[in-house]
């Protein structure tokens, strides 16, 4: 089966070439996205089969000479291949309709399959060369997709998404390269099997761990390496945004899990603490910035940062349990993390599709220009609502099931001997609770501003429902969100082989329970039944409606009441910015938010205005100085561009001498 799955990678490349040739005709879109859909279905099927199958390997005569191209398919790669298949298939389906409105199909069609090819290769790779090759293919093709709409991007003074993304992607590739270099050791065994056998010293292990955390974390969007994510993800066409947020961040999570849980020797305790600290901060900072965001797609990107934080908290707990020899706890924590990764792929793809549909219908991304879309786009509005409830971790949808599992892992409270871990568990529990509550606030605001109320602009007033392909893709993901929420046991059981391979233990079988209740440890300790909760809500709601409608006298439509002063102008309704004002006041300390109101004096005829200034706690103290330093050095180095040929020759000679000397001393 690994052969067929490996063949998917070149097949994606072929589709990309087809995309170059046929970009100008309608059939090109159908061919590329239809082909991607079929290939993604293959990935999904193969990935699911690999979850329960044996480990398969294959060595291809490509790659570095004498090393070859090692590919491997096990439960972990099977799970992530299934995620690519699911997310990529959904994005292809959505794009079949959504792609119609693309002004420059030539900028999107060739890179979309290449992007999928890169991600697939990362998952299948079993040596450092192929892994990094796939990683860079994924980065570069997605960079090209981010650049597709560069000409209609933001103000020139703002950071350019493509540029920042390219820098961070290069940085992440570099750190991973160094991590693999450390892992391979002096012998230079690039195959992952060599690294598994190669027993590195504690210093090397710690170094490789930190490099892997930085490399994979910056791709996933871990604070403080997340700055590119809210710039780049929204800049791409919406189906690509869905793919980047829903799937590419998961490939980065895969990279982290593969290196840290599989290739590396057991790490010291502070590594787990590091992951827990980074995860907790990421979750809260991501969602706080999402609450403050006006741009719908950027809001979703910040929410991705939050969810990556939740996933990394789960992984950090799994590491902490594993290094203390508590395998059952590690199994619960890693299952919770991977379950959340799966859920995030579902609901974030759905939400980005919804944002894309709104963008197509209104041409707007700013929520202050939307409103009332529930009347104009009822089906999109319904599916988007499902996505909002799922991402806000509300029962009975899937986001709640995985967050519930994460909380259960926090509550295990084994007697961890290390103080750092002992303190980080409850603190992360509190941070996750805060993030979950703020996510609900964030999505009430997003949904309320975009879909509810009255239209704020003519564009929103004249929006029309999107095509059937897009609606099918959204509906499919909404249904999956519900199914994963009411049958969480099925997902947990499917993840058992992954947890077995990574932690040496698995969670108890969940589907054996006749009522399909999930109980991570024992029913007396904690249990949750999504199906019963869902059916109870549905039944009691229907019964109540039926009963109330028997006694009630029907409804009458009238103008809004609004305490007797309804205002006709749509500007008078609560806007997204006014909605977040209380939260801004409470949590604004972190962002040093300053609102300044410019009120004209009586008699003056200019309009009053309010300006809001926000300080980014990561960009301003961390990145701005680096950027300043780089440009300062670049200016100094500028002198080197205007030298004579003799000086250049002497530079070359000097460099050569230094290199030879170093080599001689090294030997």
């Amino acid at each position: 089966m690994i052969g067929q799955l490996a063949a998917v990678v070149p097949a994606f490349i072929v589709l990309g070439v087809v995309g170059i040739v046929t970009a100008r005709v309608q059939a090109g879109r159908v061919l590329v996205y239809g082909g991607s859909l079929v290939l993604c279905a293959v990935l999904l099927g193969g990935g699911l089969a690999a979850l329960t199958g044996d480990i398969q390997r294959i060595v291809l005569p490509i790659g570095i000479p004498w090393v070859g191209g090692h590919l491997r398919l096990d439960a972990l790669s099977g799970f992530f291949l299934a995620l690519i298949g699911l997310g990529g298939g959904g994005a292809s389906l959505f794009a079949l309709g959504y792609g119609q409105s693309e002004h420059h199909p030539g900028r999107v069609l060739p890179f979309f399959p290449a992007f999928l090819a890169g991600m697939t290769l990362v998952i299948l790779a079993d040596d450092a060369f192929l892994f990094l090759f796939g990683w860079e293919l994924m980065s570069l093709s997605s960079w090209a997709l981010v650049m597709a709409h560069q000409d209609e991007a933001t103000a020139p003074s703002a950071p350019q998404p493509g540029y920042v993304y390219l820098l961070m992607a290069t940085f992440s590739g570099l750190t991973l390269l160094l991590a693999f270099g450390l892992l391979a050791g002096a012998g230079g065994g690039l195959a992952f099997d060599n690294m598994r056998l190669h027993a590195a010293g504690p210093g090397v292990t710690a170094g490789a761990f930190v490099l892997a955390l930085i490399g994979a974390g910056s791709k996933a969007g871990l604070v403080p390496l997340h700055v590119w994510l809210p710039l780049a993800h929204p800049a791409a066409p919406s189906h690509v945004s869905a793919l980047m947020s829903g799937v590419m961040t998961k490939v980065a999570v895969y990279g982290f899990v593969r290196i840290v849980f599989d290739l590396l020797a057991p790490q010291p305790w502070w590594t787990a603490t590091l992951v827990l600290v980074a995860g907790g901060i990421t979750a809260v900072l991501g969602v706080l910035q999402a609450v403050l965001e006006r741009d719908l797609k950027r809001l979703l990107a910040y929410s991705t940062v939050e969810n990556i934080g939740i996933i990394f908290v789960g992984l950090g707990m799994a590491l902490a349990f594993r290094l203390n020899g508590f395998a059952a706890g590690a199994a619960l924590a890693i299952t919770a993390a991977l379950f959340h990764a799966f859920n995030h792929t579902l609901f974030k793809s759905l939400l980005f599709f919804g944002a894309g549909a709104v963008l197509n219908a209104t041409g707007r991304r700013d929520m202050e220009t939307m409103g009332g879309l529930i009347h104009r786009m009822p089906v999109t509005a319904f599916f988007f609502l499902a996505g909002c409830m799922a991402v806000s971790a509300l029962p009975p949808l899937n986001g709640f099931a995985s967050e519930w599992l994460t909380f259960q892992a926090v509550l295990l409270r084994p007697q961890l001997p290390q103080w750092g871990l002992k303190l980080m568990f409850p603190v992360d529990g509190a941070l996750l609770a805060l993030a979950a509550a703020l996510a609900a606030a964030c999505f009430v605001r997003a949904y309320g501003a975009a879909f509810l109320g009255r239209p704020r602009t003519p564009a929103a007033e004249q929006a029309t429902e999107v095509d059937h392909w897009s609606l099918t893709a959204m509906g499919g993901f909404a249904l999956l969100c519900l199914l994963a929420g009411i049958f969480p046991g099925a997902v947990i059981d499917a993840l058992a082989p992954v947890s077995q391979a990574m932690t040496g233990a698995r969670m108890p079988v969940q589907l054996a329970d006749p009522w399909l209740t999930i109980a991570p440890i024992a029913a007396s300790r904690s249990s949750y039944n999504g199906l019963l909760v869902f059916s109870f809500i549905a039944v009691s709601m229907l019964l109540t409606i039926a009963a109330v409608h028997r006694v009630s006298r029907g409804i009458r439509r009238s103008p809004p009441w609004d305490c007797g002063f309804p205002q006709a102008a749509p500007d008078t309704q609560y806007s997204a910015t006014s909605f977040q004002q209380p939260i801004r006041r409470v949590f604004g300390v972190i962002f040093r938010v300053r609102d300044s109101v410019d009120m004209p004096a009586p008699g003056e005829r200019r309009a009053a205005s309010i300006t809001q200034r926000r300080w980014d706690p990561i960009w301003d103290p961390l990145y701005a100085p680096i950027a300043g330093l780089v440009s300062w050095i670049a200016e100094r180095m500028n002198v080197l561009q205007f030298l004579t040929i003799r000086s250049y020759l002497s530079f070359v000679f000097g460099a050569l001498v230094v290199l030879l000397l170093t080599l001689a001393l090294w030997q």
Partner: protein, 324 residues
Amino acid sequence: MKGADVLAMLHALLAQGVQMTVILLLAPLLTGYVRKVKARLQRRRGPDLVQPYRDLRRLLGKEAVIADNASWLFRVAPYFVFAATWVAAALIPTFAANLMFSWSGDLIAITALLGSARFALALAGMDIGTAFGGIGASREVMIASIAEPAMLMIVFSVALIAGSTQLSTVAEYMLSGAAGIRVSLAMALIALLVVAIAENGRVPVDNPATHLELTMVHEAMVLEYSGRHLAMIEWAASLKLMLYISMIACIFIPIGLAGDTNSPLGNAVGVTSWIAKMAVLGAALGVAETAVAKMRVFRVPNYLGAALMLGLLGVLLLFVSQGM
């Protein structure tokens, strides 16, 4: 399945059904009782105990007037809020623990179910596009963004002490007296009282009796509702008050709670003690509301932040030391 099994299952189903019906039917009475206590403390005669039932009947019988531009969400939300709150209330051991469906959701699920209800109501507040709905929804989610983590911290404290997030198991553990007197439990109790007041929109966070006041939260959010929709929302609010008071009772004063529903005597003791606890705690709420003044809306985060910190401190203590 044997005959005895069927009988046992029917019995369990009946007990669960009785619990759900009783909590639903008694909820407005508790609201009326708290109002009566407050009125008497303020030297007013106050409305009858059964006035909330009359209000509900009147609202249900009336025509519902809704705005021209209200969407389906506006019409569905009250029923969803009611159903989610009712299901959450059904998971609380009122007179007996270990009811048939008590294991279908734990304390975290109860918190999240109430979160679902709030999510729907806040959205409904924004549906018409009026200033009042928006201001109420905005403040409601601001309060929730601190109250919900505080609630989860309380849940964590209790769960770490009892070794379970299942409310029935927690109640039995507390009943057994094994918990003893602990610092973290005291912190959790104080935090839970604070959160319960905020979640139910009582003084000093919100005032359920006011109308048209700029500091109000819940009443502003549901301003556009009338008739049967308003009845559902009012009933859900009563249910929520009942839920929180029952939860406090079953965690911190589980005396009299029946372990199962098999003995008639146990059930009788359970029901009597539950009603007594409701009466005492409801009166305490009335006294507390009379004694304090409503605070400004931006003082609320400090008030709730204290609860959050108390909860977190309790959890930290538990992680650091078994005995606290």
